[in-house]
Assembly symmetry: C2
Homo-oligomer: 201 residues x 2
DNA sequence: CACTTTATGACACGCTGTGTCATTATGTAA
DNA sequence: TTACATAATGACACAGCGTGTCATAAAGTG
C-alpha cells in the first residue's frame, strides 16, 4: 500500500492504531544520511535506528529517495492547489505568469522548519541520484501547471514547454537558496519565474 | 574505466584490438527493451544476446540507463560545442537567446537516424526512471550554457535559472517531437526556447 | 468475545552494480 | 620467435535495493 493511501486515509475507528510516525522516521533517516552519508546508510540501518522493521519502513516510504523527497510533498501539494483554485477563478490578475509566480511562492508558507528543508535540499544537491528525482517528484506540479495554462488559453505545446521550464527554474531556485544562508526562499522563486515568458501566438 | 575514456582514447598501436562495437550492443539492447520491456530485460539478457560477457557490457556502459541515453550524447556534445564557440566569438547576433536556440538546433544535425532516436526518446518517455536521468544526462549542456550566459553578461543567478529552464524546455521539446510523427525536431526546439526571456537587470 | 488493522520477523528471490582473479585471445614491436 | 600490451572472458563473491509471502503478535473497536 502506498504511503499516499495511508496519509489520506479516513481516521479509523477500528483496528490497532498507528504507532509509527513517518515524519520522525524521515528525520532519523536524514540524521543518518548527514552522519554517515547517503549511500553508506542502508534501509536496514534506518529501520534499526528507528526501532522498526525493514518491511514497516517500506510500508511508509516507497524507497530510499522518498525519505528525503517526502518532506517536499506539502510544498508541491499547496502550490498545486493554488494553481487549481486560480484555474477555477478564471485566471489571475497580471497574466498567467503572475499565477505561476504566486503558486510557487505559496508553497514556502507550509514548511514548518526552513532549516530542515535546507538540509534536505543540500542533500539532494549533493547526490545526482536524488536531484534527478526532481523530474518525478515535481511531476504533479508540472501537470497542474499545464492544466492551469491550457485553461488560461495558452497553446498546448507552449504550455508544455512553459511548465517544463518552470519546474526546472523553480527547482534551481530552491537549490540556489539552499546553497546560501538567506532565510527566505521566495525572492529566489520570483526571480526564477522571471526568466519565463508567454510567446505571442 | 569509464566508457568516455575508451571512446576518447588515442588509437592504440599495440595490444589486442577492440572487437566490441558499443553502438551495436546498444542497438541490441534497444531491440530487447522494445520486445520484452525495459524492466523485464536484465543486463545479463543483453550481454547474452550481444554475445559478450556481463562484465564487458559494464565496461562500455556504466549502467542500464546508459544503453538508452548514450545515443543522445553526440547531440549534447555538439550543442555544447556550439555554445563554447559562440562564447569565444564574443556573443551571437540577436542576443543570447538566439545563441541558445542555435545551439539547441545544431544538435539535431549529428543524429544519423532520427527514427532510432525517436524510439529511444519514446522509451525514455515511458519510463520515469529514464526520464529523470535527463537531469544528469543534460548536466554538461546546462553547465556550458551557464558559462555562455555568464560570459555574455547575464547575472549569475539568472543564468542558473535560464539554463535550468532551457534544459527542461528543450527536453520537453524532444519528448513532444518523439510523441508525434513530424520528421524535423528543430521547430519544437525553437518553440521551446521561445518561452525563455532574459529579464532586465 | 469477535473483528479489524498495524506491525513484526523470518525467509526467499531477482536484479543492479562493484569487485577480484586467473586465463585466453590478438595484435604490435624488438 | 619472442616479449609485451591490451581486450575480453568466466567464475565467483558481495552488499544493497525492492518485492513478495506467510504466520504471528499487538492493540484497539463494537
Amino acid at each position: 500500500m502506498p504511503s499516499d493511501a495511508l496519509k489520506t486515509a479516513v481516521p479509523r475507528v477500528t483496528g490497532r492504531p498507528v504507532t509509527i510516525d513517518p515524519d520522525a522516521v524521515a528525520a532519523i533517516a536524514l540524521r543518518l544520511f548527514a552522519e554517515r552519508g547517503y549511500e553508506q546508510t542502508s534501509m536496514e540501518d534506518i529501520a534499526r535506528e528507528a526501532g522498526i522493521g525493514r518491511k514497516s519502513l517500506y510500508r511508509y516510504f516507497a524507497g530510499k529517495a522518498e525519505l528525503v523527497w517526502g518532506g517536499m510533498e506539502p510544498v508541491i501539494e499547496v502550490s498545486g492547489r493554488v494553481l487549481d483554485s486560480a484555474r477555477a477563478a478564471g485566471g489571475a490578475d497580471g497574466g498567467v505568469l503572475a499565477g505561476l509566480r504566486e503558486a510557487a511562492v505559496a508553497g514556502v508558507a507550509v514548511l514548518p522548519d526552513l532549516a530542515v528543508t535546507r538540509g534536505r535540499l543540500r542533500l539532494i544537491a549533493e547526490h545526482p541520484e536524488l536531484a534527478s528525482r526532481s523530474y518525478e517528484s515535481l511531476a504533479p506540479q508540472r501537470e497542474r501547471a499545464r492544466a492551469y495554462l491550457v485553461s488560461a488559453g495558452v497553446r498546448e505545446d507552449v504550455a508544455g514547454y512553459l511548465c517544463a521550464a518552470l519546474i526546472g527554474a523553480t527547482f534551481e531556485a530552491w537549490m540556489q537558496w539552499a546553497a546560501g544562508t538567506d532565510p527566505d526562499p521566495a525572492p529566489y522563486l520570483v526571480a526564477a519565474v522571471g526568466v519565463l515568458r508567454v510567446p505571442e501566438p
